[in-house]
Subunit: 644 residues, 2 copies
Amino acid sequence: MTTERTEPGVDGRGTVAAVRPRTAGRYEPLGLGEVRIGGGFWADRQRLNRDAIIPHCDEWLERAGWVENFRAAVAGTLPAARKGRLFTDSDVYKYVEALVWETGREPAPSSDQRIRELTALFRATLEPDGYLNTFYGRDGQPERYSDLAWGHELYCYGHLIQAAVARARTTGPDDDLVALGVAVADHVCATFADGANPGLCGHPEIETALVELYRVTGERRYLEQARVFVDRRGHDTLGDTMYGGASYYQDRRPIRELDAFEGHAVRALYLAAGAVDVAVETGDDALLDAVRRQYDRTLARRTFLHGGMGSHHHGETYGADFELPSDRAYAETCAAVASVMLAWRLLLVTGEERYADVIERALYNVVATCPADDGRGFHYVNTLHRRAPSLVPDADNPSLFRTGGMRSPWFTTSCCPTNVARLLASLGGYLATADDDGVQLHQYAAGTVSAALPGGAAVRLTVTTRYPDDGVVAVTVDAADRPVELSLRVPGWASGATLAARGGAPDPVEPGRVTVTVVAGDEVVLTLPVAPRVTVADPRIDAVRGCVAVERGPVLYCAESVDQPDVDLDLVAVAPGVTPVEAGGVVELAGLVAPAPDEAGSWPYDGAEPRPEPRAVTLRLTPYHSWGNRGVSTMRVWLPADPA
Amino acid sequence: MTTERTEPGVDGRGTVAAVRPRTAGRYEPLGLGEVRIGGGFWADRQRLNRDAIIPHCDEWLERAGWVENFRAAVAGTLPAARKGRLFTDSDVYKYVEALVWETGREPAPSSDQRIRELTALFRATLEPDGYLNTFYGRDGQPERYSDLAWGHELYCYGHLIQAAVARARTTGPDDDLVALGVAVADHVCATFADGANPGLCGHPEIETALVELYRVTGERRYLEQARVFVDRRGHDTLGDTMYGGASYYQDRRPIRELDAFEGHAVRALYLAAGAVDVAVETGDDALLDAVRRQYDRTLARRTFLHGGMGSHHHGETYGADFELPSDRAYAETCAAVASVMLAWRLLLVTGEERYADVIERALYNVVATCPADDGRGFHYVNTLHRRAPSLVPDADNPSLFRTGGMRSPWFTTSCCPTNVARLLASLGGYLATADDDGVQLHQYAAGTVSAALPGGAAVRLTVTTRYPDDGVVAVTVDAADRPVELSLRVPGWASGATLAARGGAPDPVEPGRVTVTVVAGDEVVLTLPVAPRVTVADPRIDAVRGCVAVERGPVLYCAESVDQPDVDLDLVAVAPGVTPVEAGGVVELAGLVAPAPDEAGSWPYDGAEPRPEPRAVTLRLTPYHSWGNRGVSTMRVWLPADPA
C-alpha cells in the first residue's frame, strides 16, 4: 500500500478511495481513508452531521429555491424564477462538498446518487465556454463579470472547485464533478490570466480552490492563476463598499505588506489560506512569512477567547487591536471554519503545534457551537455575552435572523450551515499528519490512524480516549513496518501534562510536542490536565477588564440563565482568586449577586450610591458550545471578579 | 410689550421678530429675540457657525449637487441630473433652517437673500398638489410614495416644515417659506389622513414638524395628522430592513407599549419628540408618560457618558441595556441633537431640571465635539475610544468616511453638519423659560434674557459668567415690573454648589432647582464646583469596568495621544483613588504605563506571565469636545484603574 506523492492517484483501500492531499510543507496530511474517528465528541457530531445537518441543508436548499435556480437555468425560466441572493449557488456547491466528504467517510448510495444528480444539474447549467452562474449573463440579468467587487462569481467557482477536489480525493479524479471543476477552472484561467481580464473577485475563495485543484490534477496553470489573483489584490481596484473602503475586500494594500488581518474576516482568512497554498507550492517564503506574521498578530490581538474572529457586526470585519467586545462578538461561524483552514495550512508547513491549538479552540468553541443539539438550527454569529433574552427565530421567515441569540434553521445568506457540514464531514483529515519518520497526532479522538509514511513505511495506531471529558489519551501501535516516531501535541493550556511510554512511569511534558520512538505493540499514554481553570485576559482587551472565564481542557464554559433561575447575570460577580469546582460532570463557581438597584431615571455614571450587600450564590457553568439549546436565555462567558 | 399665547403672532421687539413657541407644558419657551448669548463657550460656537459652518454647508450642498437637484427639477433635467442619495433634499432644508435661525439671531441681508432664493427654488419645484421631492415621481424616477419605508419623502417634508416654522418664529408667518411649509403640510394631511393612504414614513420627523406648524399657525389638522402618524406606527407594516426587523423603524410595537428606545437612534428620538408634542398639545398624559418612561430607562441604561446614544454601527441603533462599548460608541451627532430636542420638550412639560442636565451633557460633549475648530470638518460618529491612529479624510472623496476618527468635510449621508448648524443658530432658545411667576435659567452663558412672562410682567436679566471655565454665574435683574421668581438649575454633578442672593452669604444648594424672589437691581450669584472630578460607571456597563473618567463641570475630558507622546494609551492605568489636578487651565492625572509586552504570536488569554513594573507618568487630559483637532491621534475617555 503506497500513496502517490507527486502525481494524482487513488489509494485502493476498502470502499473509500483517497487522493492524499499533497503539500510541499513539513508534514503530509492524511486522507479520509487513513484517519477514522470511532467515538466520542467528534464522532457524535459527525453522526449528527450525517443524520441531521446534511439532510436539513438539502431540505432548505430546495425549500429556498437555491437548487431550483439551476433547474430554472436549464428550463430557461431565469431570471424570472431566480430565488435568493446573488451568491446562493455557492451554498449548493458547499452542500455537495459536504456530501462528497461524507460519502467518502462513510459510503451511502443515496448520497452518491444525490451528488451525481446535482452534478448533472450543474453540468447542464454550464455554458459552452465554462461559465457557470444562475444569477448572471442571461437576458434580463446583469452581465457576466459586470460587478466583480460584489458579484461573487469567482467565489462561487471556488466552492464548486472545492467540491470537485473533495470528490477527487474520495472517489478519484475520473468523475463528472471533477471534470466540471476542471472545466470551470480552465474558464477562469482563460478569462482572468495576466493580459486578459485584469479583475479579481471581491470575495476570495478561488485562490485556495485553484491550488487545491492543482494538487489533485498536477495542472500548474491553476497554481499560476491563484498566484495571479493573490498578487493582483491590494491595489484598491475594487472601489468602496457601504462597509467602508478597500480594506473590507483586503484590497487596500497587498497581503505581503499588511501587519494584521483587516476587513471582512471570512474574506481575509480565505485569502490568507489561498496565499499560504500559493506560497507553499511556489516556494515563496516571503509570502508565507507575511501571512504568518499577520495571523500571529491577529491571534494575539484580534481573536476572541473562543477562537472566533470578527469584532464588527457592521461589515462582518475585524476591529482594531484589542477591540474584542463580548456582547458584540460577531465571530461568524464561517470565520472560525476559515481560521481552521488557515491554521491547518500553517501547521503543515511549519510543524508548530500552536496552530493545532488554534484549530482545537475554534473546533470545540465555535464550530461545535454552531449547530443545535438537533442539527436543525445554526449560529451565524457566536456572541460571548447575550444580555437580553434570546429571541425565538421564525422558522418560516428566517431571513435576517443572525443576532437573536438562538439558532436559526436558515439564513438569507446561509453560508454557515453548509460550511460546518463540510468541515465536520472532513474532520478526520485534520487530526493527524505524517512525515518520513512517523506520525503526528494533533487532535485527540477515539479512532484509528492507518498511515503510509512518505518514506514508505506503514503504521497503524489505535487511539483510546474519552477526551475532552477526560484527559487520558492512550495510543496503541497496532502495526509498524519499522520503528517510527510518534508525536503527540501537548496543548498550550496543558501545564502539568504527563506522558507514559511502554508501561513506564509518567514523565512531565511541556506544552508543544512530545515525540517517542515506537514499535508495533507499544502503548503510549498522554495525560492532559482537564480540570476546570480560570482564565484572564491581556489587560489591553478593555471589554473584559476585571473579568474571569472558565475553561476545562479545550472547552470554554459559560453561565447561562437557565441554570441559575434566581440570579440576574447582569449583577453577578465572582470572588477574586476563586477556583471552579467540578463534581459529577458539573462545573460550579462560587459567586455573588448584587440586589437589583433602584434606578428609575437614574444616571448610570454617578457611582455615588452605596452598593447593597451581595448574597452568595453558586454559579453552575455549562460548556459554551452547548448554550442556547434549552430555550430562551441570557448568557455570559466572562464573569466580573468582585473588586471588593 | 405682550406676547400672544393662543394665536400666532409676532412680537415687534428690535429687528428680530419672534413668534414665541407656545406649548401646553409647565414652562413657556422663549423666542430667539428674548435670549441673547453674548460671550463665552457658546458665543464662540455661534460665531463659528455663522462664519464657517453655515458657509461650509452651503458650499458643499452646491458642490455635491444637492441644491442643483432643485434647479434640475425646474429645468426638467431629472432624473438624469440627480445627484446624491434619495434623502438629500432634507439637508438643503436643514441648511435653510439654520440660515433662518441665524438671520433671526443676527440679521444679515445676504443670508436673507439666500433664504429667499432657495425658497423660490423649492416653490418652483413644488407640484400643483403640494408634492415636493427631487427624487420621485418624474418619468424614470420611482413613483411617489412607492417606498414609504425607505423613501424619506415625509422625512424631507418634516425638515422643510421645520424651516418654515423657524421662519415664522423669526420673521413672522407672512412669508413665502412659511407658505411653502403650509402647502406641503396641507398635501400631507390630504394624502395621509385616516381613510386615505394608510402609510407612514420609515424615518420619523414629520410628526414634530406638523405639531410645530400647528403651534405657529393654529391649524389643528396638522396636530391631528401628527397624532395619526404616531398612532399608526408600531404595527409592523414597514417590513424588514437589512438592519433587522421592524424595530429599526420603531415599527415593532406602538410607542405607547415600549420600555426603552430601540432601533435607529435618530429615528427613535425624533419620533419620541413628536410623540411628546402630540401628547402635550392633545393632553394625552398616557402617551407622555410612556415616552418619559422610555427615555428615563434609555438614559439609565443605553446612554454613553458624553450623552450620546446609539451603541451599534450596524443600523445606527440602540443596543441592549448596558451595552455601551467605548470603542464602538456610534453616538451619532444627530442622535445627540435629537436627544436635546426631546429633553427640551420634557423639561418644558415636566419642569424637571434633570432633563436640562441631559441637554447640557449632550451640548458640551457631543454637539460641541462635532465641528472642527475651523468649522469645516464634522464628526458623524462620536467614539469614546480611538484605538488605532485616526485616519485623514479625503476631502475630495468624503463619501463613506464616518468612522476614521477625524472630522470629515462632508458625508454621503450628511445629516450631521446641517443638524449642528441649525441647533447652534437656535441655541439661545434652549437656555431659559418663563412661567406666570418668573424666569427659569437652565443653561448658563453670558448674555441677556428679556422675557415677557405669560402672566404679563416683563423681566430683563443680565448673566455674567465664564462658565464652564469658571463656576461662578452672576445674574443681575436689570428690570422687573414686579417681584418675580428667578429659578436657577443646579446641575446633577454640582455637589457643593452655593447661592448668594442680594449680597448675602453663599448658602449651600442641592442639585435640582433653586428659586429666589427678585426685584429690579438684585444680583444673585450661583457658584458651581467645576473642579475636575473622577467618575465611575454602573458595574453593569461591562465595557468600562475598572475604569475611571474625568469630568470638569459639564465637560468630559479625555487622554489624547498628542498630549503624551511617550505613552502608549493601550498600556496606561491610573492609581485607584487618584484625583485629577488642575493648574493653569491644564488638567492632569497621575498615571502608570506598563512596558510594551513581548507578544509576537502569543495568545492573549493566558495571564500567566509576570507583568513588568510600570513607570509613573503624568497624563495630560483635554476636553473631549476638542479632541482630534491636532492631527492624527489615538484617544480614550475611560482610563483603566490600576488593579494593584
